[in-house]
């Protein structure tokens, strides 16, 4: 077992443990913070995968924006719930069963594919991933259209969210 693998397993434990806490913990604000931990673990995973840019963006977007939004939403709506009572539905066993079924199925399939057992080749020298990514996002022959569409989606979501949440549209 190499250092890489140890780090991966620690990281995976962090992600899965936090994720389990997200879906099971009683206090919603804790769930949101556990989500932050899980997302942080995913960011580390990206760093291990040598996608440094994505790792940092994961922190900026998920922890800096999305998690904060969640915490705000929890704070703004806590009066009624007050985190009392059961937080999961009474028939929680059915989703659990479904999740387990899907997990076993997927694991079964993944293990069955020998191609998935390989390890990654060394990162080729001289490949500037960040520059490539930037060029891919704005180059005509690559992804400029999806990129622009995504930005329009974000704009629309921004306007929509402000309108829906502003409360003046009674």
């Amino acid at each position: 077992m190499t250092v890489d693998q140890i780090i991966f397993i620690l990281c995976a434990a962090l992600i899965l443990g936090s994720a389990l806490m997200v879906v099971t913990t009683g206090k919603l604000i804790h769930a949101a913070l556990w989500l932050v931990a899980a997302l942080f673990g995913v960011a580390i995973l990206y760093a291990i995968l040598q996608a440094g840019f994505l790792a940092v963006v994961q922190v900026v977007v998920y922890i800096g924006a999305i998690a904060i939004l969640f915490i705000f939403a929890v704070m703004l709506t806590r009066r009624e719930m007050l985190d009392k009572g059961a937080q999961t539905r009474s028939n929680w066993w059915l989703p659990a069963l479904l999740g387990l079924l899907i997990l076993t199925g997927l694991v079964f399939l993944i293990i069955g594919q020998p191609a998935f057992g390989r390890t990654a080749a060394e990162m080729p020298l001289g490949v500037d991933t960040l520059r490539n990514l930037g060029m891919a996002l704005v180059s005509q022959n690559a992804f400029v259209l999806p990129f622009e569409v995504a930005s329009i989606l974000l704009l629309a979501a921004l306007v929509g969210a402000v309108f829906v949440a502003s409360g003046n549209n009674e």
Binding site: V3, G52, V56, V60, I63, I71, D128
Partner: protein
Amino acid sequence: MIFLNDPINFIAGWMRGLLTGWGLPEGLTTVIIYVIGITVLIVFAMVLDILLVWVERKVVARFQDRIGPNRIGPFGLIQPFADIIKLIIKEDLTPAGADKLLYNLGPVLAIASVIILWAILPLSEKIFGVDLNVAVLYLVAAGALGTLSIIVGGWASNNKYALLGAFRMVANMIAYEIPMVVVLLIPTILADTMSVQGITQAQSGMWFAILSPLGLIIFLISAIAELGRSPFDLNEAESEIVAGFHIEYSGMKFGLFYAGELLHAFTFGGFMAVLFFGGYGGFFGLEKIGFFSWLDNPFVQALVFLAKAMFGYWVIMWIKYSMPRIRIDHMLAFNWKFLTPLALVVLVNTAVLSKVLAGLPAWGYVLGMFLSNIVIGFITVEILRAYGRKQHKVESKLSPQNTQNQEQAV
């Protein structure tokens, strides 16, 4: 002489030899060396932090025409250590109804969000934590963690002032993050890289502060807002919400918030030095002359860097102790209606000009960039003046004194 030229690698090599000599495996050695390196960096930052307390108090005193701490040790240098001892032995209170885990997590996150920034601060060409190729973005990401620490601390205190302070702080940070990100792109464009080493080296001939003075000013303003220092210190506005998000904290937990803020300010001074003042280098080509080649020594560079960072820190303090606090709505309006658009204009200007002027000789490039900034600044000031005059007219029309005059005239 090797130690003097490349201290970090020298020590690392020596330790690697030592540890592998003890029979430790290669991988474990690497991990141990990294852990030691990180620890040293953190210790360095924290010791510096203690000194900063003294610096802050001395400088404030001078601004306010006082002497400052002067009893314990020469020039009161021992004063901060005494303060620390006091904080440590104070009673550590946890309010009733507080969320214990989060309440304790808050200060830790606060200081951690600052310390992780030191990983990318290049003290010199050879002394640095790590040279990330996304360092500029990393700066923003660390800011996000800072936001999180404050909201966690404010929420967990179970105190309405704390929560209000946290809300204000978050609104503040999220808002001012936008001009900050935009303006961070200016050094990125000018240096054609996001790595801080690259940005520093790109400034060996000319500081970006001269190529983009407006970018520097916007960065400074949004950095102050990000720090939550006066005039943007609404998160702890004493007259309104007592002490804001850290109202319930006492003892060393409060000390961590306080130390975090000071170190954060100094770190931003450092980033200002790196992004706009050439970091550890930037002697306008002086170091290439044989007589001045000692400027390339890592320790000299580190000293230069710390001096520049201290200058930035001093500017932030200068502003803090000379400006009154502004109102929350004014602060947000200032950001959304003025700073963000201006930052975008400056960014577009820089991006376009850096391509347009690329063919010119160096002096033409620098002059063009500088003049374009001056022109934009002039136009901005003129627009603000026109707006101010209009505002003034409207207000004078509405003011009671004026109405009285009119009534008398009638």
